[in-house]
């Protein structure tokens, strides 16, 4: 074949990428749909959150800061964030492990395990709280008493956040091309090295995403901690409980201020990890 044959495709510019580009003008029906969606979001989510942010600064920035840095609020925040971080790290490890076993292993009862993982998603938080109280509380059948202790709070948080990392990592593991691992092994890598250098980097975005979700959920948790912790200020009171207390005591500015802190924390963590996930998707 002459050289000119080979040049053929190169001389023509690549077509715009697969997806057809749509015109940026919306039809009437889509425009109405967008209007509806925006209105719904505003009524349910946006306006309330705006009111919250406004209330938090009712007494200006100094008022906000005073509310957030009061000893009780601060103690609650510290406990909440530390517990949230600790629980999220545990979930990152165990969640990945469980996802691995669910995807790569086969044994009788696996589908039961697969189904059970969803339980904390579907169970009302107060029911979880009741269950944990009966298991780890004063009347514990196994003799473990975590009532009024931080460890009780931690157990409650571990319960409700268990599924997050599992559920974000599982689909990625399913999609993972096992040929990559086979290539690594054929090049002499041990299973551990293969996991560390081939599989894990590909799982990292999903693990990060699940951990972020787990953290956001953990710092927001109310119903499951309320019973076992006894809500002792400075000891076992998490921020969500503190906020509730402030609402009941008719101090909405303080409640709003601490709420804003929680909200910002969640958003920062979720955004950071969304960024990480997008970076991961671009690579892989």
């Amino acid at each position: 074949m002459s050289a000119t044959d080979l040049q053929l495709t190169e001389t023509h510019p690549p077509a715009p990428t697969g997806r057809r580009v749509r015109s940026p003008r919306l039809g009437i029906r889509a425009g109405l749909g967008l209007g509806f969606a925006t209105m719904y979001l505003s009524i349910v989510v946006l306006i309330p959150l705006a009111a919250l942010s406004s209330k938090a600064f009712d007494n200006g920035v100094s008022g906000f800061w005073d509310a957030v840095s009061s000893p009780e609020a601060w103690a609650a925040l510290k406990l909440t964030v530390l517990a949230g971080l600790g629980v999220s790290v545990v979930n990152a490890v165990f969640g990945t492990l469980i996802a691995w076993v669910l995807v790569r292993d086969r044994f009788p009862g696996k589908s039961l395990m697969e189904a059970v993982i969803d339980l904390p998603f579907a169970l009302p938080t107060i029911v979880a709280g009741l269950i944990l109280l009966s298991l780890y509380g004063v009347q514990s059948p196994i003799g473990i008493n975590l009532a009024f202790k931080v460890s009780g709070v931690v157990m409650a948080l571990l319960f409700v956040t268990l599924p997050f990392v599992v559920r974000t990592v599982e689909p990625v593991l399913w999609e993972l091309d096992q040929e990559m691992e086979e290539a690594a092994v054929s090049l002499g890598a041990s299973r551990l090295t293969t996991f560390r250098r081939v599989v894990f980097p590909n799982l990292l975005p999903a693990i990060a995403s699940g951990t972020a979700l787990s953290f956001a959920r953990a710092i927001s948790e109310f119903g499951s901690t309320v019973l076992i912790s006894g809500n002792l200020p400075f000891k076992t009171q998490v921020s969500a409980v503190f906020i509730y207390g402030q609402i009941e005591s008719d101090r909405p500015e303080i409640a709003a201020a601490v709420s804003v802190v929680l909200l910002v924390l969640s958003l920062v963590v979720l955004l950071a990890l969304d960024g990480l996930q997008r970076w991961g998707r671009r690579r892989g």
């Binding site: 989510v45 306006i47 309330p48 165990f94 691995w100 009862g109 579907a122 909405p252 409640a255």
Partner: protein, 272 residues
């Protein structure tokens, strides 16, 4: 050499399996099993009695009504938004996409607080409604909005990947065959996403039935009035009626388990 690595692999595999089973068992199965045991400690009759008290029955009724409206609203919102996000271009699309996920970042009690701040009896919006005879906070409408808030993302998040994967080829084929947009939506789009939609609806429903923190703040927790089943559990326990609490907790857990079974049946269909 080969058998040594296989043995190591098998040991590792069994080890991982054991850890996973142990962790899930201790953290999930054992506690839930204990719930069942504690509930039926004294037999079935006391449980039934507790479940059929007027207050308990009322609580279930309120829960179902609130959940129904929240699921309806979020399903419609979910369909509209998913189609907008996948099939159309418009300025602010990425903002809309991010806003849909916002409820995941908001603690339930904070949801309740924000709603009181907008729709409470002392606000301009709230008093306007009150003047027209509608109570929002400490009444059903507020509870419905709170529940909509916390369960907002599920339908959208289930539909978007499926709509993206299916692509709009089928819809275009329908147009060339003469179908109007409405006919295309009803006869081609909707059927092609039905499992993902069902999955999203079940998730929304389970979340709506079980919401505690937001409803606690927004409803005022008035027994026989605005108290939902989850609130009932908390209240009964606080009022030294653990049997009542366990009975309703058991009922809610049973509903959650049914939901999970349905989800697990739907999940493979949703994936294809």
């Amino acid at each position: 050499m080969a058998s040594a690595t296989t043995a190591k692999t098998t040991a590792a595999r069994l080890g991982l399996r054991a850890i996973a089973i142990f962790y899930v068992g201790i953290m999930l199965l054992f506690p839930v099993g204990l719930l069942f045991w504690r509930t039926f400690e004294h037999g079935i009759q006391p449980v039934w009695d507790q479940l059929t008290t007027p207050s308990a029955a009322h609580a279930f009724r309120v829960t179902v009504i609130v959940a129904f409206w929240a699921v309806l609203g979020n399903t419609i919102f979910g369909l509209v938004t998913a189609i907008l996000l996948v099939r159309h271009e418009f300025p602010g699309k990425r903002v809309l996409n991010a806003l849909v996920d916002l409820p995941f970042a908001v603690a339930p009690v904070v949801v309740g607080l924000s709603l009181i701040l907008v729709y409470g009896p002392h606000t301009s919006v709230g008093s306007w409604f009150a003047d027209h005879g509608i109570d929002v906070i400490f009444a059903l409408p507020g509870m419905v909005i709170a529940t909509m808030f916390v369960s907002l993302p599920f339908v959208v998040r289930e539909l978007v990947p499926v709509l993206e994967e299916i692509g709009d080829d089928q819809e275009q084929a329908a147009w060339t065959l003469g179908a109007s947009r409405r006919q295309t939506f009803l006869r081609v789009t909707l059927p092609s996403i039905r499992w993902a939609l069902a999955y999203g609806v079940v998730l929304t429903l389970a979340r709506s039935l079980g919401e505690y923190g937001a409803i606690l703040v927004v409803s005022g927790n008035v027994i026989d009035h605005t108290q939902t089943a989850p609130l009932y559990v908390g209240a009964q326990y606080a009022n030294f009626n653990p049997q009542g609490a366990y009975a309703v907790a058991f009922a809610l857990a049973a509903i959650a388990i049914v939901a999970i079974i349905i989800l697990n049946v739907l999940r493979p269909k949703e994936r294809t």
